[in-house]
Amino acid sequence: MSKLVSKPQDESVVTESRWQSLKQFTSARIALGRTGTSIPTGELLDFQLDHARAIDAVHRALDVATLNQQLVASHSLSHVITTPPLLVQSKASDRMVYLQRPDLGRQLSEACWQQLCDARAEYHHQEQRQEQHKGQHQGQQEYDLAIVVADGLSSTAIQKHALPVIERLVEKLSGDDAHTWSLAPITIVTQGRVAVGDDVGECLNAKITLIMIGERPGLTSPDSMGIYLTWAPKRGAKDSSRNCISNIRPEGLPYEEAAHKAHYLLSESMKLQLTGIGLKDRSVGLEEEAQLESDATSSFLIG
């Protein structure tokens, strides 16, 4: 990120910190310098810009039309999921309600619940007709997986990262030798929280719900996306029955790695017929590498 003020500030007024070298150890806002004992103008405005971006991420409405268009136009998706995305909303009528009533963001509105159930019945009908046409027996009634996309607390995250992660994930699923995945149409939910994926999964009759959702924006990560998986999704499912992949963004967990983790967890979930604490993520990724950081027992402060 570029600094608003790159030239040295007036030295007679601003005292630069003499420990700039410590910035190598942390991304915390250390060595800001001071004017008197207050934060210098440049550093103050850098902070304000980061906060403004975080606020915008929470309050800017998800551009559903654009996202929908991108999903429909995606070459790699159209081969696998032929039905266009379903567009629905939660019981939270707007952002104000959403922020104050998390319970409403966890459920589909009555009309949308019905809309998804109707859609499922319609697809089921079509499948049966096709199967009869082909002279096959009645097929599976369940989908393996329903992919859900919800704005959550950062529409920015969803707008940027949902499509690339879905494309990579669907590519992996369609090339999966171990299992032939049947995928429900993608559902886009506005004013949604994590649990709204349970409603979608239940309506569409899916074995697993995978919801991509905007995470609570941090000051330096306004666009962090999370993924939650729930086996046998049903309204009222417990949070302990979910698995989570978090901090998905290029500067955090990159797309390819997120898709890899999601594919791993989905495959394990299908094998074990569960999600939650019984399903451990044993795929090796960036996070683990960070945890393995040095065995040092002392810091630079002790010379």
């Binding site: 070298s21 150890f25 991304s27 934060i39 609570r216 027992t297």
Partner: protein, 466 residues
């Protein structure tokens, strides 16, 4: 059987089904009480409830529990530890009389400290609901609560800071870099306290050892803490770790504490274990508690009691263990509990007032998340108000940005602002150390040294040599 309450205003009669309902309806507006479904239905009903509450005799709180004695160990603690002798001077008063008395000259620092054991959290919560912000500030300022470990916290005219050097992967150098930064701004006298990213016993021991080394090396008159679960700290003590303070998040109902995985017995065990180490030099207050409005609702263990009353009940738990520090983390929980700057500010002042009146060394994590309707200006306001109210301590982190917990709290610079604007100083032992280390050129005027303090300059020089 709980009594019901009525109030006649003109030709209209209002009914409130229980003391808990009356208190909830009398509470200044906040989103958490709306989410819980206990909030007043109108602004008028709220004031009517406040009028009815002002008329309730304080004695009522000794016979009518908002959560049953039989089913909640915190109610039992409150009732069983109540001291009638201390209560005597106000035993004839109503809640409304109590407010008048608190603001009167009769309620001086001595009278207020003599009263502590005669007060229940519910009495204190009730009176706070009919007090304006300035009332909460004025009375809290009169309450002097002093605690001590390696320095003395809470003396009048002092404002201490917790140096909070969190790092997303617990990198020791990353943590040390932030400690360095904070010390150079005179922060860290309340405690140097890390929220670990990896929350287990080996990590706790590793971080404690690192903090111990720094405190010893520079002879800093302060204490360390790793904010892990109390059972981890007990285990660390058993394994011989250098534990100064025991940390735990607590709530005001037994059910809330169940979700935190604690109860009074395990807190007692931890308290005794830490005391046995005798690591304090000027005092032996060894507990550090964190609280915050909304935890009881979040745990679905609020039993129709409003979130501010639940919060005050948590202070009964805290004071049982003579803490060094109690911290209300006021804006961390999110907008579904405290929606905006106005609600966060009000809650911060209430919590500080209630804690101080009950005899706690009350500090405040003046903070907000990015989905709340709050910003740095709201935090400036609350910081200034709490500084005037004599708040015991606040947080200090680099540039207000906690990169591990992803929220904003007060910065090292903010603490110096408050000291400068309000004439406040750090703990006396720490103050001497800052002068001795030449971190400040003039502590009274809050002037930092232009030169880098020598002992610390050495570690920076060493670094550039590497």
């Amino acid at each position: 059987m709980t009594a019901s309450y009525r109030w006649q205003q003109g030709d209209k009669v209002y009914h409130f089904g229980s003391l808990a309902e009356l208190m909830a309806k009398a509470t200044p507006e906040r989103s958490g009480d709306a989410l819980a479904g206990v909030i007043a239905e109108s602004a008028e009903q709220r004031v009517i409830a406040q009028m009815a509450l002002a008329d309730v005799p304080l004695k009522t709180f000794l016979t009518e529990a908002v959560i049953p004695y039989e089913s909640d160990e915190i109610t039992r603690l409150i009732i069983d530890s109540h001291q009638l002798a201390a209560f005597a001077p106000i035993s004839h008063m109503t809640v409304g009389d109590f407010r008048n008395w608190l603001l009167s000259d009769a309620a001086d620092s001595q009278a207020l400290s003599a009263l502590r054991d005669g007060l229940t959290p519910e009495m204190v919560a009730a009176v706070s609901k009919i007090m304006r912000n300035q009332d909460l500030i004025l009375v809290a300022k009169k309450c002097h609560v002093v605690s001590a470990f390696r320095n003395t916290i809470g003396l009048p005219g002092r404002l201490s800071t917790r140096l909070q050097p969190n790092h997303p992967t617990d990198s020791l150098d990353g943590i040390a870099a932030t400690i360095f930064d904070g010390l150079m701004y005179g922060n860290g006298d309340a405690v140097i306290g890390i929220n670990p990213a990896t929350d287990n016993v080996p990590q706790t021991i590793k971080l404690l050892a690192m903090l111990e080394e720094v405190i010893q090396h520079y002879q800093i008159p302060t204490q360390s803490c790793v904010l892990t679960h109390v059972t981890n700290t007990i285990e660390a003590i058993e394994q011989g770790a250098a534990v100064d303070l025991v940390f735990q998040s607590i709530g005001g109902t037994q059910g809330t504490n169940d979700t935190f995985g604690v109860n009074l017995a395990v807190l007692k065990e931890a308290h005794e274990a830490a005391l046995s180490l005798k690591r304090g030099t000027v005092g032996n207050n060894v507990m550090y508690f964190e609280t915050g409005q909304g935890t009881a609702l979040s745990a679905d263990a609020y039993f129709g009691v409003d979130q501010q009353t639940c919060e005050a009940r948590a202070y009964a738990v805290a004071r049982q263990f003579d803490p060094l520090l109690v911290n209300t983390v006021v804006g961390f929980i999110g907008p579904e509990y405290l929606f905006d700057g106005k609600q966060i500010i009000r809650a911060g002042l209430e919590d500080h007032f209630c804690g101080k009146l009950l005899g706690l060394p009350m500090g405040c994590d003046i903070c907000y998340t990015n989905h709340a309707y709050a910003d740095q200006n709201d935090m400036d306001n609350l910081l200034t108000l709490l500084g005037v109210a004599g708040c015991t301590f606040i947080m200090g982190i680099p540039g207000s940005d906690d990169i591990m917990l992803n929220y904003q709290t007060t910065s090292f610079h903010d603490a110096l602002y408050a000291r400068k604007a309000l004439g406040l100083k750090p703990a006396p032992e720490f103050e001497s150390w800052l002068a001795q280390m030449e971190i400040f050129s003039d502590v009274d005027k809050v002037r930092l040294n232009q030169q880098l303090a020598k002992p610390f300059g050495a570690s920076i020089a060493l670094l550039s040599d590497k």
